[in-house]
Amino acid sequence: MRFSVLVEVRPREGIANPEGATIQRAVAGLGYQGVSDVRVGKAIRFAVEAPDEAAARAQVGELCQRFLTNPVIEDADVSVGANGGQRA
């Protein structure tokens, strides 16, 4: 089966995120009050061939741990959809 995958890489809790902090200041500068906790990460989309969703998740999890994130400073949220590689 073909699964569409979205990996959202984000800076771990407690790790400074200067890009997010800068955007937050700019948002306040535009007059939007009450916007907080801005964090910037990255989104990586791809498709995976696997027998089932559990296998796809296991493979993506390993990929995140080994390569797509640096576990010292980053976490990842993984979404897996069985929609043939369409956008999740």
């Binding site: 400074a16 200067p18 800068t22 390569f67 640096n70 010292v72 400073i73």
Partner: protein, 228 residues
């Protein structure tokens, strides 16, 4: 003459400066392409600065899987001196040869300047010839140079005297002012400043004692091997 291998990745750009600095210190240099399977017969390895693989994904993230890295890891495990400068430091942390990570500078500024640093430990392959407390002015040139690690890792680095170089005026938000660290055995060293750019007879010269340290380390390793 002792020879250091300089590991060149697509996007490295400090390899010739390193070769020049090594030559001034009395060591030969040989370029090793990242796609090579081995490092050959060398006495030390240097991973130079630059933007290996375009810094895509994260600095060092792709370089750590370059074919040559297995040989670099084996060389380090056997106690061989491995020096990572700037992007090379990032590669070594990604490869797990040094703990922690380098994140983006606070202020999101690409820093290209000369900073004052202090040698805080002489138990590394690079700082062994320099008295603790010595101040060195060294160039930096990086966007992701703020060292960070877990609290227990920091405690370990401190207690084992593995923080070899600190910034006097922290330029990038680095944890505990860290500019350079080493492995438990001291043979693997990573630092953000560029000692190879401070070996100019008419300019900055504070990198010279660090390269002298590497030469002394290599001589010491050779001596130990002979007497063993």
């Amino acid at each position: 003459m002792r020879t250091a291998g300089i590991v060149v990745f697509p996007g490295s750009n400090c390899e010739h400066d390193v070769a020049e600095a090594l030559g001034m210190a009395g060591m030969g240099a040989r370029m090793i392409w990242h796609g090579d399977a081995g490092v050959g017969d060398v006495d030390a390895l240097v991973l130079p600065g630059g933007f290996a693989h375009g810094d895509y994904l994260r600095p060092g993230a792709i370089a750590r899987f370059s074919p040559v890295m297995a040989a670099v890891e084996a060389f380090a495990r056997e106690g061989g001196p491995v020096i990572g400068i700037c992007n090379g430091f990032q590669v070594l942390t990604e490869a797990g040869l040094l703990p922690g990570a380098l994140r983006q500078n606070c202020g999101l500024k690409f820093l290209c300047t000369t900073v004052r640093t202090r040698v805080d430990s002489g138990r590394s392959a690079l700082t062994c010839s320099v008295a603790t407390g010595t101040r060195l002015s060294l160039p930096i040139n990086h966007f992701s140079g703020a060292y960070t690690c877990a609290p227990d890792t920091l405690a370990e680095l401190r207690s084992e005297e593995r923080i070899v170089l600190r910034y006097l005026d922290n330029p990038n938000g680095s944890l505990d002012d860290i500019a350079g660290i080493c492995s438990p055995a001291g043979n693997v060293v990573g630092l953000m400043p560029h000692p190879e750019r401070a070996c100019d007879p008419l300019g900055l010269q504070d990198g010279i004692p660090l390269w002298a340290g590497l030469v002394a380390t290599v001589a010491g390793v050779a001596e130990a091997t002979r007497s063993a």
